[in-house]
Symmetry: C2
Subunit: 333 residues, 2 copies
DNA sequence: CGCAGCAGCTAAACCGGTTCAGCCTCGTCG
DNA sequence: CGACGAGGCTGAACCGGTTTAGCTGCTGCG
């Protein structure tokens, strides 16, 4: 190490000085920092990772079939939020996009065996999730996005989907809707199940006993098909709650095509806001959340875990409903 | 290294055997591989990176203001395509989302000084791009997505935007349009400039001498504003070409709001297809490209560069125009 | 004055691989 | 039969940091 030579000390001293560890005098530390700056020195990440048994990287795997991924700004905002916190600690983000859960698990195994990451972020939790068992078995630190529950000892960061769903149903019922349907996302996702339960409970609390729920894969096609099915039923709903914005947009298109006016004859609510919802005609009432802040919060929790803290479940803000022009009182019929 | 002990050879031999290098007999190699499998051995990435002076990772920085990022599936498809090629070589992808070009440059500097990545992928090339100079100066291998031209010695993978733009204009002119406008993206992006040039040349070739071009930041808001400005002008266009799908969607909404029927009174073409374009009403005529394949092709080029090949410019397929219902002959007026 | 204790530092081991000079053992050829 | 070359393998250096045992010199206390 030529900083050591130039400063006339041993490389051990340099290491202590640069890492802010005790063991060197302030005078020496200052001299070493000075030399390091002069030489524009930066630690070699591999060397540091090797001896410290850290990689200074965390991993994120996105496992969704290609067609259902990418229209939502959610992931980018999440990633941005994560990095806002992580980059201050010089922690990099390894991203891998895979087709399915098996591939995702293989990635975790590989990352772990090669010591590529110090921790991973688990997203889109399943009802029975094999990843949780795997990560606990590997002892690979992980943070679950979207708890609580069903994820063993792993810490999580989550938002209260149940409360959010209740606020949507309350809004619709408050407008006078009695025939409310829900077009949900992938049925084996944990948050789909939670939203479904909350939906059932919320409509029941308003004395509504029939409220259909249709499952989809989040794609516009299936959202459109489900909407068509609902609107053609004998007693069509006067309001539909969609699990994402893409399906809501598709739903509005189908309604228009079938001559069902939005919001006059059909109210539409989208879960997850996006520029789309505002561009559409009419602009969609949507549930917004601050995904960037959510990511930042997740990163902070993860850093705590990396620092050895006992992982806890942290609750983020409840998403709020932004009322635009796609919801109104149902037309008397 | 306990594989060495268990197989009764030196660790040098083990290294050769596991990396397929000459220097060990096939019998020994077989025995070593056998032991490695038994022990479920995997190389420690940091150790390998340290001695081989490689990191087995490539970096991708996305520098767009948060608001304009994320609605397009483009990046995820690109990343998926990249990884389809890279993961076979056990090369990881480091992703960083930053606000602006300065931050992006800082990330390159840091990655390079810490030897975090072996190469980077440069995207959204600017007309005068400081990143090109930086990467050449650092001698950090890089692949430019979206050439050719303006990127010094760096190799690139590109699609012929000019031809694609010509095909759009030809399509519109063929339908009988004589008043064609273009709503472009960020003016300092190289491909914006190239598309602009191609647009000018194409309309000129059809004897059209006035064809307004408005610059935006790709956001729906600015797309809507630009559309409004065009439609309210004394001699409004009968066709508008948008630089992305979000603006096209916003444009259709504005047209509808102003009582301009699509496609009867206004034809709309979107650059870049997405589920959106098909969901909308009417479905949008759009320029599609196989972004996944594009990413895979880019990854192959990058691997060649890493293997020491002289970087070349590789041309990908020309994007093709998919005709849907947002374009038709102009109404006689 | 003697000795314990501590701050400040050095030297060397260590992390887990890769690389290479050099040694041994054959087989081949003159 | 001896020299030579090639194949197969060993042992050690090396990558660039971190960590630790231990040394030195100073201070403080009995």
């Amino acid at each position: 190490m030529d900083i050591a030579r130039r400063a006339g000390v041993s490389k051990g001293a340099v290491s202590m000085a640069l890492n802010g560890l005790p063991g060197v005098s302030e005078a020496t530390r200052g001299r070493i920092l000075e030399v390091a700056r002069e030489l524009d020195w930066h630690p070699n990440n591999a060397a540091r990772a090797l001896s410290a048994a850290r990689s200074d990287a965390i991993g994120l795997v996105l496992a969704r079939p290609a067609r259902t991924l990418g229209v939502e700004p959610f992931f980018f905002q999440l990633i941005s939020g994560l990095q806002a916190e992580l980059s201050g600690r010089r922690i990099a983000l390894l991203l891998q996009v895979v087709e399915d859960l098996d591939a995702e698990i293989a990635v975790y195994r590989q990352w772990w065996s090669e010591r590529r990451v110090d921790a991973v972020i688990l997203i889109d939790l399943r009802v029975q999730d094999p990843r949780v068992d795997l990560l606990e078995e590997l002892d690979l630190p992980a943070l679950v996005i979207g708890g609580p529950g069903h994820h063993g000892r792993l810490p999580s960061v989550w938002a209260d989907d149940a409360k959010a769903m209740t606020s949507i149903v309350d809004h619709l019922a408050g407008l006078g809707h009695r025939r409310i349907a829900r077009i949900a996302g992938l049925p084996d996702l944990l948050h789909t199940e939670r939203r479904t339960e909350a939906f059932r409970a919320a409509v029941a609390s308003h004395g509504i006993d029939v409220a259909p729920i249709l499952m989809t894969d989040y794609s516009g096609e299936q959202g459109a098909a489900a909407t068509r099915q609902l609107l053609r039923s004998p007693l069509p709903p006067t309001a539909i709650v969609y699990d994402n914005d893409v399906m809501a947009v598709a739903g509005v298109a189908v309604a228009t095509e079938l001559g069902v006016a939005v919001p006059t004859s059909l109210s539409v609510v989208a879960w997850d806001d996006s520029p789309l919802c505002q561009l559409l005609h009419p602009p969609l009432t949507a549930l917004t959340r601050d995904t960037f802040a959510f990511g930042a919060s997740a990163a902070r929790s993860l850093l705590l875990v990396l620092d050895g803290a006992e992982g806890a479940d942290v609750e983020d803000h409840v998403p709020v409903l932004v009322q635009r022009e796609s919801t109104s009182a149902p037309s008397p019929n």
